[in-house]
Structure formats: structure tokens, C-alpha cells
Symmetry: D3
Subunit: 127 residues, 6 copies
Amino acid sequence: MMSTELFDRGMANRRAVLGDAHVDRSIASATEFSQELIEHVTKYCWGDIWDRPGLARRDRSIANLAMLTALNRGHELKVHVRGAINNGVTPDEIKEVLLQTAIYCGVPAAMESFRLAGEVIEQMAKE
Amino acid sequence: MMSTELFDRGMANRRAVLGDAHVDRSIASATEFSQELIEHVTKYCWGDIWDRPGLARRDRSIANLAMLTALNRGHELKVHVRGAINNGVTPDEIKEVLLQTAIYCGVPAAMESFRLAGEVIEQMAKE
Amino acid sequence: MMSTELFDRGMANRRAVLGDAHVDRSIASATEFSQELIEHVTKYCWGDIWDRPGLARRDRSIANLAMLTALNRGHELKVHVRGAINNGVTPDEIKEVLLQTAIYCGVPAAMESFRLAGEVIEQMAKE
Amino acid sequence: MMSTELFDRGMANRRAVLGDAHVDRSIASATEFSQELIEHVTKYCWGDIWDRPGLARRDRSIANLAMLTALNRGHELKVHVRGAINNGVTPDEIKEVLLQTAIYCGVPAAMESFRLAGEVIEQMAKE
Amino acid sequence: MMSTELFDRGMANRRAVLGDAHVDRSIASATEFSQELIEHVTKYCWGDIWDRPGLARRDRSIANLAMLTALNRGHELKVHVRGAINNGVTPDEIKEVLLQTAIYCGVPAAMESFRLAGEVIEQMAKE
Amino acid sequence: MMSTELFDRGMANRRAVLGDAHVDRSIASATEFSQELIEHVTKYCWGDIWDRPGLARRDRSIANLAMLTALNRGHELKVHVRGAINNGVTPDEIKEVLLQTAIYCGVPAAMESFRLAGEVIEQMAKE
């Protein structure tokens, strides 16, 4: 596959998971400094890994909620709570994944993710 | 629920996920020093969180593979590769989850988990 | 012990360590989404571990200041600076624990915890 | 070397790398609580390690950008983006180091560092 | 204080906490490559921080057991389990600190530290 | 660029940095399970990021030594100590980078990396 095809496919997957409104805001706030990172992520993350048919998008979202809590990356966690709901993970299932992080990542990690996920779920209910 | 019921339920879940052989080996190697930790984990992790009906065991296993890679806890990762297969995650799906950790946790994390998961999958194929 | 007893004991310990004002604020800001996490933490963290007589509350607070710095969990660190003072750790002893984190967790971790702990100590001096 | 010489040498190195304006602001915001940490860091970090002739300051800055991204310490990362530019690392080279963190630390770590570094570079362009 | 005094004081504290046998083994296995790190650690960690009178050695050991579990540094954890016992922390108190890490750092972190601490305690009982 | 070109370029870069002997051993030990990870890493890490002309290979190696110490990934650290020396970082400069990790990542991280790097340097001296 050509590099530009990979980018186009990545952009399509990113829009399907995160929604047009989110991706448009993200594109509008991009800078010259961050341009190449965005291309890298669109191609290799969204165009390659998220494009693979071997695991359902819903399962990929569950893995991401767990990983991003463990990694202490709250900004990306919020992005992927939105993605998880778009991929069919219910708020109750998000709650279950985060309760499980309390056991494996510790209570402070889970408390932070509950706070952030709760904000996104409340915001999406208003949209 | 009484504390002893929680322990019994936890032991049943732990055996269902990890298999009798693994749990029997683990019980045989327990020491007086680690006894209370094992009770704590059996009750609150296996008897409470893993007992909740709100998320399928298969989904909990996917979350664990992702979290344990992010947390750099190889010993527990191997335990939960076994659990994932017992819960119906296929080796190909484990591969997909771990490929996704390369993006979110970084390549060194993914490489270590591939090494460890490969060992467990090979071992289970012989059993 | 019944599950409700564990919760009640946990709530009592949590109030004793963190103070009624903090716990009342925390309860007031709880949401339906976070309700089960709070029950989980109140029972297993505050009702079980913090209830154990084998280690003084003051010692548990010292361990928490060190752990939360290492884990990069600033929100919980601030909660447990308050708890540490309520448990008899002096501001000078908190300073010593955090100086020690500079050696073991690195200078950036220690600097962040000094900033956050300083805010809590200043706030408590005004109350 | 006497302890006071170490401090003086550290202060000189810190000013050379981070700039007088930054160090003056930092000194002005110091509190009694944080005083000993600052002395510790000035002596052992700036007076000893940064004073060693065996590695160019530019190379030390590259190592710091990479480490602080991996450690998830955004506040210090911003300080050391400023230091990196003062030490001769160009914005394009900073971009390259951070693209490399996407591979080794994962995409969420890189995205956060791009955001923070972009802010510092834009701010310095205005000064 | 002169740099050599700091080193001598650090060596005395290190021997007092970790024991002559451990320190002698460590010195014997030092290489030219690691020589300067050992001097750095002996001066700034053992000669400065561990020398400060503001916190009891027993308290410093409790902080270290918690931190090293959170940091996933098993080799140093084992060294500081030995130090903790030499500083008057009982095996039962070590158990309590590690049970508390299960809550704050997560169960996999606690399980690893229990394994390692159990080995040291058993070894010291034989000496 | 086509995907196969990216792979070929990645393999060439990987061989240039890590040496043919290392890469041949790595290829020989690959399994069906790990095959796609290796392709992913060869293309995106070695074929793309390491291929970028904007930062010298020597600088990329310095960043990696720092990052891999912070990330606690000893296996990859050893691989990249070899790469660093092949890219012109001297053992004395590696020592300086690792001394700097003692300040920013903490002493236990630095001690582990000194141990591992020392082994690789000694091994390469014999080859």
C-alpha cells in the first residue's frame, strides 16, 4: 500500500471511531510543529493497527481504556471514552473496565479515570 | 455477603479462569508471609470484581492483557494470557491486543509481552 | 463480617483520617457513575486495609506519600498530605519523605510533590 | 569541593541552561517548605551532574526531553524544552526526539509532549 | 562539608542500614564503569538524605518499601527489605506496608513485592 | 513509498545500528506469533523514524538510553547500548547519560541500567 492510501484509510477510521466533530476540532488546532506527528499517528495507528480485521473495534476500545488508565494519560483517555461509546461499549461496561483497573492499576488510577470518563459521558449525553 | 462466602466465590472464579492446575500450584507455593495477600486478592479481585455480571470474562481478559503490558508486570501477564485463552480469547486476538500495545505503550512494552505470551501459548499447546 | 459492616467501618476510618469536611465534600460530588467505585474503595481500602492494627496510621501515611509520588498521582497525593497531617506526620517530616523521593523517584517527581504538598499545608494552616 | 561551592556552581549552570528570567521567577516563588529541595537540586543536579565535562549540554538536553516524556512529567518537560533550545537543540531536532518517543514511549506520551513543547517554542519566539 | 567527608559519612550510614556483609559484597562486585555512580549514590543518597535527623531510619525504610514497589524496581526492593529489618521494621509490618501497596499500586505490584520480600526474610532467618 | 520499500529500508537501518550478528540472531528466533510485530517495528520504527535525516543516529541513541531507563525496559536497553556504541557514543558518554538518569529517573533506575550497560560493554570488548 502507498503511504497516502494508508493516511486516507487512517483518517477514515479515526473519523469513524472518534466522530467528525472531534476530528475537525483536532485538525483545526494542529500546528506546523505537530503536523508530522499527526501524519505518523494517522498512518500507523489509525491506518494500520485500527484497520486490522482481527479484533473488533469494541474490543480495541476496551483495551485502550485499560491501557490509558495504567499509563496515566488522562487526555487520551477522554478521547477514547468517546471512541469506546461510538464503538458500542456502554457506559456501564466502561464502569466495569474502570472498576477492574482499581484492582490491577491501583485505586488512585481508577479514581482519576472515573472522574475523566464521567465528564465525557455527561458531555455526550448533552450532545 | 459474609467474608467467607466472598472468598469461596473468589476461589471458584479464579479456578474457572486460570484452571485448577495453576491454582493448585499457586496454593502449594503459598507461604505464611503471603497468606493474607492471597486472601485479599481472592476476595476482592476474584470474588468481587471478576464476579460482576456487567462485563464478559472475555472482555475482562482483554483489558488485563493491555493493562499488564502497560504496567510492565510480566509475571502476571503470563498468568492472564492463560486466563485469556481459557476465557475464549484466541491466540490471534491476543496478538492483536499486543500489536495495539505497541502503539499506545510503545514498542519495547509490546516486544516483552509478545515474548512472554508466546511462551504461554506454546506451553498450553503442549498440555 | 457483613459487607455493610465493612462499609460502615471504612467510612469511619476515612472520616478519621481525611476529616469530615473533606469526606462530606467528596460525598456531595459523587455521581451515579462513580457510586460503585466509592463503595469499593470505602470497603476494601478504608474498611479493610486502613483498619488493620498491624501498622500505625502514621506509618501508613508515610508509605502513601512515597507511593503516590512514585505513581505520579497528584490529586490523591494532596488528599493524603491532609491525611498524613491528621495522622500526626508533621510538615517537616513530610518534607523529609519528599526529599527522599528525589533520590528514589527522581527530582521531577519530588518537585511536583513539593508543590502540591506545600499548597495543602498552606491551606490547612488557614483553616 | 565545599558544599557552598557546589551550590554556587550549580546556580551558575542552572542560569546558563534555563536563563536568568526563568531562574529568577523560580527563586521568587520558592517557599520555606521547598527551600531544602531547591538546595539539593541546585547542588547535586546542577552543580554536579550538569557540570561534568564528559557529555555536551546539548546531549544532556536530548536525554532529558526523552526521559521527561517517558516519566510523564510535563512541568519539567517544559522547563527543559527551554533549556534544550538554550543549549542549541533546534525546534526541528526537538520534533525529531519527540517523534522518536512515539515509538518507544507510545503515542499518548508523544502527543502530550508535542503539545507542551509547542507551547514553549511559541512562547520563546515571542520573547 | 567537604566531598570526602560526605562520602565517608555515606559509607557509614550505608553499612549501618544494609549491613557490612552486603556492602562488602557490593564493593567487591563494583567495576570501573560503575565506580562514579557508586560514589554519587554514597554521597548524595547515603551521606546526605539518609543522614538527615528529621525522619527516623525506620520511617525512611517504610517509605522505600512503598516507593520501590510502585517503581517496579525489584532488585532495590530486596536490598531495602534487608535495610528495613535492620532499621527495626518487623516482618509483620513489612507485610502491612505491602498489603497497602495492593490498594494503591495494584495487585500485580504487591504480589511481586511479596515474592521478593518473602525471599529476603527467609534468607535473613537463616543467617 | 510502498510498504515493502519501507520494510527493506527499515531492515537496512536496523542492521546498520544493531549489527548483522544481532539482527540475524533475532530473525532466527522469530516465531509465527511474533512475525507481524517484527514487520510493524521494522517498517515504522526502523524504516520511518530511524530513517529521518533530521537528527543524527548518535543523538537518537542518547535519547533511547535515557528513555529505556525511564521505562524500565532492560532487555531493549541492552540492545540499544550496543546500538549506541555502533552509532559512536563512547562508553564514557553512556556512563554520563546514565549518571544523569540517576537525577531524573531516580537511583534505582540508574543502578539497573549501569548493571545492564556494563554487561554489554564488557561483552562487546571481547568480540
